[in-house]
Each structure stands twice: as structure tokens, then as C-alpha cells.
């Protein structure tokens, strides 16, 4: 994919990104693990015990895939948006722009950094979930591929947010007012079969609903949606967002005068 110098530049960006989020692990790795553990205890154990089954599984087992996916989505997104915006804010993004690095290498480096954090947190949450639920894997290929593609989609989304952000408020608006509601309404805590017909259709307009359900299918073997359609949609998202990111970098939006 990359020639030698480009590979070195790519590795450098990824190493820098990993160094950044591990240096501030108290802000990046620990909080999601604590939050998701609380979900396990409160919704899974305390409330879940009274709910009984959902989609043919114990409530705890039903919500675990959604909570893992929630951690992956939020962390992939927030790593890229906060890191790239912080570089813009400190002007250290100029270090990258004056260097002979093609735009796709810059983008790939940041996206890889976001994916590494998303997957790290996802792995920690998965390990935590083993204390609360007996998880098997229905399809390893589907489980791994959907988590990778989802992480990629939200890393790209985080990059676009960072490009347009002008202040720290701008990097928290999308996660707070768009991402979190979409995740909560994306079938993490319930099956859409419980919803009235109108909201069932409305839920199907939420892309995160497909990601959560495909991941749930990979682990439990049950899903509210067509898995093939979900993968097609993920690939389309990746193509559109990647194209958008490259176009923005080429134009110099947010980074060049």
C-alpha cells in the first residue's frame, strides 16, 4: 500500500496516536470501562433480572454486544476528533502539512489510531463482560469484521468533525447530540420488535442500529436485520466518508489558509 517513506510516516502517526491515548489513559481507557461496567451491573444485573428474556436470550446477554459496540463507536470517534482537533488547536498539525506525506497517509494514520483505541476499549469491555455473562461466538468472521468496519466508519466521522471544529465545543456537539442518541436508539438495550410499527421503521433509518445488530448476530446468532445489507451499508459509509475526508484534506479545509 505504501512505499518505504510513506510506511515510516504512517507508522510514526500511529505510534504518536497510541502514545497519546495511553499517556492519558485515565481520560481515555478507564472512563469507558467504568461506565460500561456500571451498565452491566445496573441494567444487566439489577434491572435485567426483572426483565427476563429479550430476543430469546437473558437480558444481560442481549445487551452485552450492544455495550461493546457502544464503547468501540464512542472511542474510535472521540480519539480521532480530539486528537486531530488538538493538533489543529496547538498548530502542531503544521508539522504534518509541511512534511512530504500524502493526504491518504495522514488520514490512514489518524484512522488507524482511532481504531486501535476503539478496539482496545472494546477488548477491555469484552473481558469485563465475561464477569457478567457467558458469551459464545456464533460467527468469528462476522464479529471481527463488523467491529473493524464500524470502528473505521466512526474514526472517519471523527476526522470530519475535527476538520470542521473551530473550538472545543464543536468536538463535543456531535458526540453528545447525535452519536449518543443514535446509539441509545440503535437497539443496544431493546429489540425493535418491542416498538410500535412507526418507531420500528424509524429505527431502521439509524445506521448504528445495523451495526449493533450485526455485531449481536456475530456473537449470539440472532438479529433484527439482514446482515448482508448491514455490511453493504457499512462499506458504502466507508467509501463516502473516506472520499469526503480526502477531499477536505486536499482542499485544506480547516488546516490551510
Amino acid at each position: 500500500m505504501f512505499s518505504d517513506h510513506r510506511l515510516v510516516a504512517f507508522e510514526t502517526i500511529v505510534i504518536k496516536e497510541v502514545r497519546r491515548f495511553t499517556r492519558i489513559w485515565l481520560q481515555t481507557l478507564l472512563p469507558p470501562v467504568i461506565t460500561i461496567s456500571l451498565y452491566f451491573v445496573i441494567f444487566g444485573n439489577l434491572v435485567g433480572g426483572r426483565i427476563g428474556e429479550m430476543g430469546g436470550y437473558r437480558y444481560m446477554e442481549f445487551i452485552v454486544p450492544g455495550l461493546i459496540m457502544m464503547a468501540v463507536i464512542q472511542n474510535s470517534y472521540s480519539n480521532v476528533v480530539s486528537s486531530f482537533f488538538s493538533q489543529k488547536f496547538q498548530r502542531s498539525v503544521e508539522e504534518l502539512l509541511v512534511a512530504p506525506i500524502p493526504n491518504y497517509v495522514i488520514l490512514s494514520g489518524y484512522i488507524a489510531g482511532g481504531m486501535v483505541r476503539g478496539l482496545c476499549v472494546g477488548l477491555i469491555v469484552t473481558l469485563m463482560s465475561l464477569f457478567f455473562a457467558d458469551l459464545g461466538i456464533h460467527s468469528l468472521l462476522i464479529t471481527i469484521s463488523v467491529v473493524l468496519l464500524t470502528s473505521l466508519v466512526f474514526s472517519l466521522g471523527g476526522f470530519i468533525n475535527a476538520v470542521f471544529a473551530n473550538n472545543f465545543d464543536d468536538i463535543s456537539i456531535i458526540p453528545t447530540f447525535v452519536l449518543t442518541p443514535l446509539i441509545y436508539l440503535g437497539g443496544v438495550f431493546y429489540s425493535i420488535e418491542l416498538l410500535p410499527p412507526f418507531w420500528r421503521v424509524a429505527s431502521q433509518l439509524n445506521p448504528i442500529f445495523y451495526m449493533v445488530n450485526t455485531f449481536r448476530y456475530g456473537i449470539l446468532g440472532t438479529s433484527d436485520i439482514d446482515v448482508a445489507w448491514a455490511f453493504t451499508m457499512l462499506c458504502l459509509f466507508i467509501i463516502v466518508l473516506y472520499g469526503g475526508c480526502i477531499w477536505l484534506l486536499r482542499k485544506g479545509t480547516g488546516v490551510r489558509s
Binding site: V8, A9, K16, R23, S86, E94, E95, V98
Partner: protein, 311 residues
């Protein structure tokens, strides 16, 4: 002469309508130590931003070592090292990491990156600080770190945008020595500075930019020779009891305080004639200094001239 950088008809207008550069044409020879001077807002940083690709130009051409920056992006960026005016590194990274990371951006393998960063951090007196967070460095150290960072890929052309701003005089002089050394070793340097003494000491050629236009582009020697009037302050060994007031063609002497006399020379008169005139009055001179930096006088006169032309 091999040309390190050549710009022709360079233009930049911002969305606000401000024309920062109004068609600049300039050549800097390979191996030169070149001063780009101008008042605040003249367009110096915009010029540097365009050359380093941080600012998109509106018109004109830029060539670095004969290569068009648009068509030879990779090679021209490899040839360039830039030290910007503003601090632009991650304040949370360690000093060594900032420099090594920059080397990685230029494709230097890890071992070579480590060697180069050690070399330049040592040369700039920062090796002992390599494990410190960069935000903990003093202002002067931050500037030196940015120079080390810009040199880590050993560019053929180094652009320094006010590298000694806010740096104390001792450190400034040690930075001058360092820059002269790397220039002697073959690196072409373009320097912008507000310290005109710095430009006079270091640079062989000079361009003055004002309101987005080049208003002077010549050698430092030629420019200084154009200065017709020289003012000196002469210090006497004894208290001056009487007024000193000599006004001859090309020589004017005037007492300014109890031990000092201002001498203004023009029309080719040299300082000996002033000393001889004072000697005839029984005044012995023990020391002397320029009243103002010579380049500063020229710089101001050029800017005044440009303002009048611009009307």
C-alpha cells in the same frame, strides 16, 4: 548561480479581501543567507506559508531548487525546513519525541531518526532536556527545539520566521553562530527578523517587503553603501565645560550631555575628521558607537519612501 528558491508574481488574497501579497518576484541563490525584512503585516509570514505549503496562493509560481512545488511536492518538501514564528508543536510531547516524530514524518527510519535528533538536540544544547515535556521549556529553548525539528531531515533550504524573537542576547548570539555554521556547511537560509542588527550580522542579501510588495532586493553591502549619512556618539574623557557646535560641509558636531558629542558625517567625510576637529578644541575621545543601527536607518527610509509613493 544555482537558485535555491524562485518565486514569480506571487499573489495571495484572503476571503476578507485583503491582498497580502501583490505579485512578489524573488530569487534566492543556493548557499545564500538571505534576509526578508518588513514591518508587521507586510506579507513575510504569508510568503513563508506559501513556500511551505501551509498557505494556498492565489497566483504565481514557486520553484525550489528548480522544481515546481505543485508538480514535485515530495522532493520540494524534502528540501525545505521551516521554523515558524508561532510555537507549533504538541506541548504535551517530550522534547525528544517531538523531534523524532518529525523525522518519521519525513520517512527517516527509526534508528536514523534517533541519531539525527540526538545530533541536533546536542548541537542546540537541548539533549539534557530530551525527556522533558516540551511545554516545560523556556521560550528560547522552545525556539531552539523548533530549529532542531526543522533540521532533523537535513533540508537544503531552511526558512526561519523570526527565530530569535523573545530570546535573550546571549542565546541569540549562540543561535547566530549555529546558523552561520550550518550556512557555511551549505544550507541556504532565509531569515525574517525584526532585529535588524541580526540581519546585518548574518545575511549577505536582503529583500524588504512592504504592503505585499518587494521594495528593495539587493546585497547587504550595496544597501549599506547607499547610506550617505552616518551618526556616531563620541565619548570624551573629561567633562565638557563649553558648548560644542561645529557645522562644516559634511560634518556636524554637537554636545548632547556633559561627556558626549553627536557627530553626523556625510558626503564621504570620515570619522577621523570629526576626531581631528574635536582634538583642535582640546577634547580627547575615548570611545565611540553608532547612534543607530545602519540597516535600521535604511529600512525606515525605504518604508517611508514606499509610503509616500503609495500616497
Amino acid at each position: 548561480m544555482t537558485v535555491a528558491i524562485s518565486v514569480s508574481n506571487l499573489q495571495k488574497s484572503y476571503a476578507s479581501g485583503t491582498m497580502a501579497l501583490k505579485g512578489i518576484s524573488l530569487e534566492v541563490g543556493q548557499g545564500d543567507f538571505f534576509a526578508l525584512l518588513g514591518p508587521n503585516g507586510a506579507g513575510k509570514s504569508t510568503f513563508i506559508g506559501i513556500v511551505s505549503t501551509l498557505v494556498t496562493r492565489t497566483g504565481g509560481k514557486v520553484r525550489v531548487f528548480g522544481r515546481d512545488v505543485d508538480t514535485h511536492v515530495y522532493q520540494t518538501k524534502l528540501d525545505l525546513g521551516v521554523v515558524p514564528q508561532e510555537i507549533n508543536f504538541s506541548q504535551f510531547e517530550k522534547v525528544g519525541d517531538v523531534v523524532r516524530t518529525q523525522a518519521g514524518y519525513y520517512g527517516l527510519p527509526r534508528k536514523l531518526a534517533a541519531e539525527r535528533s540526538e545530533k541536533y538536540l546536542r548541537q542546540l544544547g537541548l539533549w539534557e532536556k530530551r525527556n522533558d515535556r516540551s511545554r516545560a521549556l523556556s521560550g528560547g529553548m522552545k525556539r531552539r527545539m523548533m530549529i532542531a525539528r526543522a533540521l532533523v531531515h537535513e533540508p537544503r533550504l531552511l526558512i526561519l520566521d523570526e527565530p530569535t524573537a523573545g530570546v535573550d542576547i546571549e542565546l541569540r548570539r549562540s543561535m547566530w553562530d549555529f546558523l552561520l555554521e550550518i550556512n557555511r556547511a551549505g544550507t541556504t537560509i532565509i531569515l525574517t527578523t525584526h532585529y535588524l542588527e541580526e540581519a546585518e550580522q548574518l545575511c549577505r542579501n536582503i529583500a524588504i517587503i512592504d504592503e505585499g510588495r518587494i521594495i528593495e532586493n539587493t546585497s547587504m553591502k550595496k544597501l549599506l553603501l547607499e547610506l550617505d549619512t552616518h551618526a556616531f556618539i563620541l565619548d570624551s574623557d573629561a567633562m565638557l565645560e563649553d558648548e560644542v557646535n561645529i557645522d562644516e560641509p559634511g560634518l556636524s558636531l554637537r554636545k548632547i550631555d556633559s561627556h558626549s558629542i553627536e557627530a553626523v558625517l556625510s558626503g564621504g567625510r570620515d570619522i577621523n575628521s570629526a576626531i581631528a576637529a574635536l582634538d583642535r578644541l582640546g577634547i580627547r575621545i575615548i570611545s565611540m558607537r553608532n547612534k543607530a543601527n545602519r540597516l535600521e536607518q535604511l529600512f525606515l527610509s525605504r518604508l517611508r519612501g514606499n509610503g509616500e509613493e503609495g500616497g
